[in-house]
């Protein structure tokens, strides 16, 4: 596959959230508002790109039998370093994204892409895969958050969309709302795919 194809496949065709169904926990937790969704998406993309590169670099020195523990060590160490560096050098960014960093460690997109892609492909393609998958994750989160924030709070990215008289549907912000929104969106995407 070409570099461009690797870059774009994560957006729709192999979207990590809607199609591969990875990283459900952070999707449900952080899609309550568009700002959170974008913050989480960006932090995850950053870690994903870096971990994909690292895993791709060490793929030849890691024995197959212990690859998963090695990946976990590499990713966890990496995320912790990013967390500390951000807190020390860019405290403002850390304030808005720092909340999501512990969630990234448990984001299975990172480990999933390391296992399914980066340990079989070269560094350049892994980089493209990381960017594409990260963008797809950000896009998916933003779409889910758009529905949840407008219905549950009447705003989009903090801007008021619904009239003041709108009575927010609180359920959209709670866990059931996340499941219903996500399920409906997945069904829609499958429907569109079948029609093609």
């Amino acid at each position: 596959m070409s570099f461009m194809k690797e870059l774009t496949k994560g957006l729709i065709k192999e979207n990590p959230t809607f199609v591969i169904v990875l990283g459900m926990c952070p999707t449900l937790a952080t899609s309550t508002s568009v700002n959170n969704a974008i913050g989480m998406g960006m932090a995850a993309t950053f870690v994903l790109v870096c971990s994909n590169i690292m895993i791709s670099l060490i793929k030849n020195v890691t024995p197959d039998k212990i690859r998963i523990p090695v990946y976990v060590v590499v990713i966890a160490a990496f995320v912790s370093i990013v967390d500390m560096m951000m807190a020390a050098y860019v405290p403002d960014l850390h304030k808005s994204l720092g909340l999501f960093i512990p969630l990234i460690v448990v984001n299975c997109i990172i480990l999933g892409r390391a296992e399914a892609y980066a340990n079989k492909n070269n560094v350049l393609n892994s980089l493209a895969d990381g960017i594409g998958m990260g963008a797809g994750f950000t896009l998916a989160l933003t779409v889910v958050a758009t529905f949840r924030e407008i219905l549950g709070n009447g705003t989009w990215a903090g801007l008021r969309i619904m009239p003041q008289t709108y009575d927010p549907m609180l359920m959209a912000l709670l866990a059931p709302g996340a499941f219903i929104t996500l399920g409906t969106l997945m069904a829609t995407i499958n429907l569109l795919k079948e029609k093609k």
Binding site: P63, I66, V73, A77, I81, A88, Y89, P91, L99, L173
Partner: protein, 193 residues
């Protein structure tokens, strides 16, 4: 046997490298992070009671100790109030709140300085829509509405609301006790100069 030993050693090597890296990064970032935290605390105090000079007071209560700051007007040296930090475990993190109160122990303002609650729900406790609910309340009113107090809990985040409210109430009680004990111990002419 040899094969498994080799696997273990490789994993050990990865862990050692990762640990060494983490230790190194931690050693260079720790003082910087600590300095940023101190500065943030100073800014937060200044925001809660502006134009004041703060004096740190540390009190030993059994094993623990509490720290609070006495705020006096920079020019007139008049007593303006007290600031302190209260913390309690919320839903998924330790919620730290900085609060200021006037000399009658009424809340002047609060600021949630550290939390990692659920984004969109508990994490809304840093919003001014939530923190301004505390303004002007006396310690007795500091209770979540479900427990019979004046604080309306945040949607889907009663536990976070409770953590903030209860930690403040408990900390105020501690500070108040100490302040009153110190006032009582003072000679009369110093209280009314």
């Amino acid at each position: 046997m040899k094969f498994y030993l080799k696997l273990g050693l490789i994993l050990l090597a990865f862990c050692i490298v990762a640990t060494a890296l983490l230790a190194y990064v931690n050693s260079i970032t720790k003082p910087k992070i600590a300095a940023i935290k101190i500065k943030e605390a100073e800014l937060a105090r200044e925001e809660l009671i502006p134009n004041s000079a703060f004096e740190e007071v540390t009190v030993k209560t059994g094993k623990d100790s509490i720290v609070y700051y006495v705020a006096r007007d920079k020019a007139t040296k008049e007593l303006k109030g007290y600031t302190f930090t209260a913390a309690k475990i919320g839903y998924s993190s330790n919620v730290k709140t900085m609060a200021a109160m006037d000399k009658d122990f009424r809340i002047l303002g609060i600021k949630v300085v550290e939390q990692a609650e659920t984004p969109g729900l508990g994490a809304n406790c840093t919003d001014s829509t939530f923190t301004k609910k505390f303004r002007g309340l006396t310690p007795d009113q500091l209770m979540v509405d479900k427990d019979g107090g004046k604080i309306q809990s945040m949607t889907g985040a009663t536990i976070t609301t409770r953590a903030v409210t209860n930690s403040l109430r408990e900390q105020i009680a501690l500070v108040k006790k100490d302040v009153e004990a110190k006032l009582a111990a003072l000679p009369a002419q110093e209280v009314t100069p």
